[in-house]
Amino acid sequence: MLSVFRAPIRESVRVGGGGGRGADGDGQAVFHRLRLHAAAVAEVARPGQFVHLRCALPGQWDPLLRRPLSVHRINRGRGEIEVLFRVVGRGTGYLAGLAEGDAINLIGPLGQGFPTDLADGETAVLAAGGIGVAPLVALAEELAGKGAPLTAAVGAQTAAGLVAVDELGKVAGRVATATDDGSSGYHGFVTDLLAGLLERVARPVVYACGPEPMLRRVQAMVAEGGPRVRGYLSLEARMACGVGACLGCAVRRAGPGTAYYHVCHDGPVFAAQEVVLGG
């Protein structure tokens, strides 16, 4: 049986990014991290899964829908999970306004996580665009725990958009970074870095999360790599239920004819060749 949880906030912190709360006029992103007590969720959550959070007081119906956020870190011992998010609108604005001692109404963990069983000789190659880093930290921690070989690259528009690189570095070793404007790390796209990694690694298993154009590029790179390269993409979609009941979060299945997966239930993680992005 799944439940609806009331998860007390253990820590609420603004992370990196620019000034002001909410997406600023000047496009500077603001990030926020919440550490929640939710033992039953932490117990079973897998990297790549998400939680679905109510963003209004009880009895208030606007904003109406829950907001999906990836499980950013899992601490089974303490019964805690963390979420890391970009403050973009009313829902994330509400969450960023919560403080230690407040509680969040959540359901989860939901969806299918990343497959983390690597064959001998395979190396995990993590690629994140912007806030897409959120689920990859939990993934890196799990892979590192299993002793899997691991490398990572993170990109963002500007240096201020590079978040959680330290957390990732702690388990993944050196993390290559890229920014569109060259304000930090490599001047260019994270997919350029990924291309380099794919050349250097014998049998890469790509795990990617980020904006759709980036994921499309990753999808193409995985396809070009042929059988030598496996790839998994974590997708976003507008959701209502988050559990597979409303069929709201469609993404096209690859293959002949028109058919859809549902991101909340069949995903959010898909094998790169399974889906048609932007379809």
Binding site: L2, L64, R238, V243, A245, L247, G248, A250, R252, Y260
Partner: protein, 313 residues
């Protein structure tokens, strides 16, 4: 403990709380949060003759206290529904109402016919909000004659109780309601979604690929309560009231307006156990207000209420 059971239109419901079609899939997902036996009935996602892939993304968009959806009737088709989905629903002990859709009157009738043979179907809910391809794409639901034709067609193909689900996007709902009742519908469901649109100024396009979508949620509740109130004063067939039901108080509004039962839809997305809370809330409310049997409340706020009173469970 108040008695919440009701019997009407050939249905026996242990309580007057159902699920709204399309918001509850085929019961599997929310069945992980609570037992399907705790509800009066489970109404399935709309079923068509052939499988349908549905519309491209995005299919949902949030609005103030509501949402628009444009799912496009994604479903596996009636045959696979009977094979793959119905058995689990039956085993879960749910009272199952199958929502039926189509683009022609004969498609509706054919689906009704195939379901007539299936075990564990308590009733059919005919969703007349689909575009009528034989008549230029206006929805069946705005045309009393078209509604009557669909109902009669289904009536000939099934012995199960028929519920007609009406669209509120008409000038006078009572005309369509009367047509459905006279054509043999045993009950009515109202309302389906209102037609709405959200435009994204940044892209200068409607958010939903088809432009319009169906508006649901608390935002539409006043429109739905009024619809039930008006129709309950015009026809004597039992009404299932829905549109923005989130709490027991909301459910009571519908019942006092004249609904024999209610359905919870969009509220599931806010709270997966919303319907269970409505059942519990109704029970508490009746106890606190010394209402022995919930049936007593039907039409209590509607002096013009015409309905036959349901029986006890």
């Amino acid at each position: 403990m108040a008695d919440l059971g009701l019997a009407f239109a050939g249905l026996k419901l242990k309580n007057p709380v159902m699920t709204a079609s399309g918001t509850f899939g085929y019961g599997r997902e929310y069945g992980e949060f609570f037992s399907l036996k705790s509800l009066g009935a489970v109404v399935t996602k709309g079923i068509t003759l052939e499988p349908r892939a549905g519309n491209p993304a995005p299919r949902v968009v949030e609005t103030p206290a509501g949402m628009l959806n444009s799912i496009g009737l994604e479903n596996p088709g009636v045959d696979r529904f009977i094979e793959e989905e119905l058995p689990a629903l039956r085993e879960a002990g749910a009272t199952v109402i199958v929502n039926v859709s189509g683009h022609t009157a004969s498609e509706y009738a054919e689906v009704a016919g195939r379901l007539d043979g299936a075990e564990g179907v308590a009733a059919l809910e005919i969703n007349v909000s689909c575009p009528n391809v034989d008549q230029g794409g206006m929805t069946f639901g705005v045309d009393p004659a078209a509604v009557a034709a669909v109902v009669e067609g289904c009536r000939r193909r099934t012995r199960r109780p028929l519920i007609t689900k009406l669209t509120p996007n008409v000038t006078d709902l009572t005309v369509v309601a009367r047509a459905a009742a006279e054509a043999g519908s045993d009950a009515l469901s109202l309302i389906n979604t209102l037609v709405g649109m959200v435009i994204d100024p940044a892209t200068r396009r409607p958010v939903l690929p088809r432009g319009v979508g169906g508006l649901s949620g608390p935002a539409v509740r006043p429109v739905a309560v009024r619809a039930v109130y008006e129709v309950a004063a015009a026809v004597d067939v039992p009404i299932i009231g829905l549109g923005g039901v989130t709490t027991a108080e909301d459910a009571l509004q519908f019942m006092m307006a004249g609904a024999a039962a209610v359905a919870v839809g969009t509220a599931f997305f806010v709270d997966p156990v919303a319907a269970v809370r409505v059942v519990e809330g109704l029970s508490d409310w009746c106890d606190r207000n010394r209402v022995e049997w919930i049936g007593e409340l039907i039409g209590a706020a509607n002096p013009g209420f015409k309905g036959r009173r349901p029986g006890r469970y």
